[in-house]
């Protein structure tokens, strides 16, 4: 029973981190139909920005805010400078560019921040809570992880569903030309979409780094899990990204706990295969039409 609970809670916490990363991927996919392969190093480099500030003596929260802010700026800049020039051309061009960015940002991080492993702080503590003489596998930081991802998800849902800006962003994603004819500044919406996605990606970078070690490749393994989570939930659905992340995190945790941790990577790929075979649109897909 204890092991079951521990495994489930670990999975929940981990799942939320994958969910955040998946959410970033989904946001960019929805708005520009691109899979952003550079998402992991983007998150990594903004976490390094936080680390630099923390090392310089500022509090964790200043570092946290700086990482999110630099994510926002980085996303906007990348969209304007790298993606915008190839908009309207074959999607493969943008994909190749994001792969190129992956390499460039990695190299930049190694040059600026060095390749050594560095530890990263985690607020709210890394000890499990005590209930009698049983330790529950939920740490303060774990709760923070879960809460922060849920808050971000709710804010994004509120943005998209209830605000004019959100409506314009959705319209730009669904039908660029019609949105333009209705007066929407579509290119601005796309930049904003990338900025928000990068902000969410930065959050996932901070949550993974907390209490763990940071080095230029630390986010790379998350790419696979985040991608699987996004596909599982449905690449078009932010809620799906979160549910997908949660389901994936819990499943992988159980595989790790009850079968063997070596099989986790394989398990994630098996899940991906199953999704693509049985329900390729993902769990939250609508009956697939985009343009009728």
């Amino acid at each position: 029973m204890q092991q079951f609970l521990t495994t489930a809670l670990t999975g929940l916490t981990l799942g939320m981190v994958y969910a955040a990363f998946a959410l970033a991927l989904v946001l960019i996919w929805r708005s520009t139909r691109i899979v952003n392969f550079a998402q992991a190093p983007m998150a990594m480099i903004t976490t390094y920005v936080a680390l630099a500030l923390i090392d310089a003596g500022f509090s964790y929260w200043i570092g946290f805010a700086a990482a999110l802010l630099s994510g926002l700026v980085l996303g906007a800049v990348i969209e304007r400078v790298v993606i915008r020039p190839v908009e309207g051309k074959a999607h493969i061009n943008a994909v190749i560019l994001t792969l190129g960015l992956f390499i460039v940002i990695h190299a930049l991080a190694a040059v600026i921040f060095g390749s050594r492993y560095r530890s990263f702080p985690a607020p709210f503590g890394l000890q499990g809570f005590q209930a009698g003489d049983v330790t529950i596998a939920l740490t303060g930081f774990g709760i923070f992880t879960i809460v922060s991802v849920l808050v971000v998800m709710l804010l994004l849902v509120a943005l998209f569903r209830y605000t004019d800006l959100g409506l314009m962003m959705r319209a730009s994603a669904f039908n660029q030309e019609v949105a333009r004819l209705l007066g929407v500044k579509v290119s601005r919406m796309l930049t904003l979409g990338w900025a928000l996605a990068a902000l969410v990606g930065s959050l996932s970078g901070l949550l993974i780094a907390g209490g763990s070690l940071v080095h230029p490749s630390y986010m790379d393994s998350v790419v696979v899990y985040g991608f699987v989570a996004a596909v599982l939930g449905g690449l078009d659905s932010p809620a799906g990204a979160v549910v997908g992340g949660f389901l994936l995190g819990v499943s992988l945790s159980f595989v790790s706990g009850y079968v063997g941790s070596e099989l986790v990577a394989l398990a994630s790929l098996v899940i991906l295969m199953l999704v693509l075979l049985l329900r390729p649109g993902g769990l939250f897909s609508h009956a697939a039409e985009r343009r009728v």
Binding site: D164, L167, A179, L181, L182, V184
Partner: protein, 234 residues
């Protein structure tokens, strides 16, 4: 109100519009007719800023549209309902309308969807439905309503009758006529269905292979058998 001067647009080496000149008078419906490939849709897309012309200009009350990006058109009072209707099917009826109101030219008044709902009661019943469930006729009403939300003074309509039953077409065209009279709207109406278009239009322009062949009062056009047989298919 809308003055087209020597407008020429090309798709690469293909001249889709070749020196087209005419005026669409204020408060009137001008039908743009011709066979497939005549350049009718290209004309509308050039006027609304989706394509840049290679030569010539389009002036809306003196304002040169050919240097204006498409996003600015609603604020100048120009609404374009494109070919294929342009319903955003992932959004609800209400959201489509709200979106139309966001770009409105007259910012002094709040966006008014009740007026659209009273013009098109069938949309009112489906406010919260995703636009994807609407029939062809309902979709056409939605996009016209959405265009009206922007309080336009000029409406560009691209083949509104396409794919619709004759009864619905008649309904929509009647409504268009009423709107022109009540709101003083100016309409540029591209149609393959020349007969229906000429029945509500004041003027007609016939294009063929990118060139303007005829610009005449609608009644005169409809009465000219030779012209009708040659270019309008009836």
């Amino acid at each position: 109100m809308l003055e087209i001067r020597e407008l020429s647009t090309s798709y690469g080496p293909v001249k889709a519009l070749d020196g087209v000149s005419f005026s669409a008078p204020r408060g009137k419906i001008t039908a743009v007719l011709g066979a497939n490939g005549a350049g009718k849709t290209t004309l509308l897309r050039t006027v609304s800023g989706l394509i840049r012309p290679v030569k010539g200009s389009a002036l809306l009350d003196g304002h040169d549209l050919s240097r204006t990006p498409a996003e600015r058109m609603p604020s100048l009072g120009l609404a374009h309902v494109p070919e294929g209707r342009g319903v955003i099917t992932e959004l609800t009826v209400e959201e489509n309308l709200r979106l139309g109101g966001l770009g409105r030219a007259d910012r002094s008044r709040p966006s008014d969807n009740e007026r659209v709902y009273s013009l098109f009661p069938v949309l009112s019943d489906r406010r919260n439905a995703t636009a994807h469930v609407l029939s062809g006729g309902e979709r056409q009403m939605l996009v016209i309503g959405r265009a009206l939300m922007a309080t336009p003074k000029m409406l560009l309509l691209d083949e509104p009758s396409l794919g619709l039953a004759p009864r619905i077409v008649a309904q929509i065209f009647d409504l268009l006529k009423t709107l022109v009279e009540s709101d003083g709207l100016t309409v540029l109406l591209v149609e393959q269905n020349a007969r229906s278009a000429l029945s509500i239009a004041d003027y007609g322009v016939v294009l063929n292979l990118g060139k303007l062949i005829v610009h005449e009062e609608a009644a005169v056009l409809a009465a000219d058998d030779k012209l009708r047989h040659a270019y309008l298919g009836f």
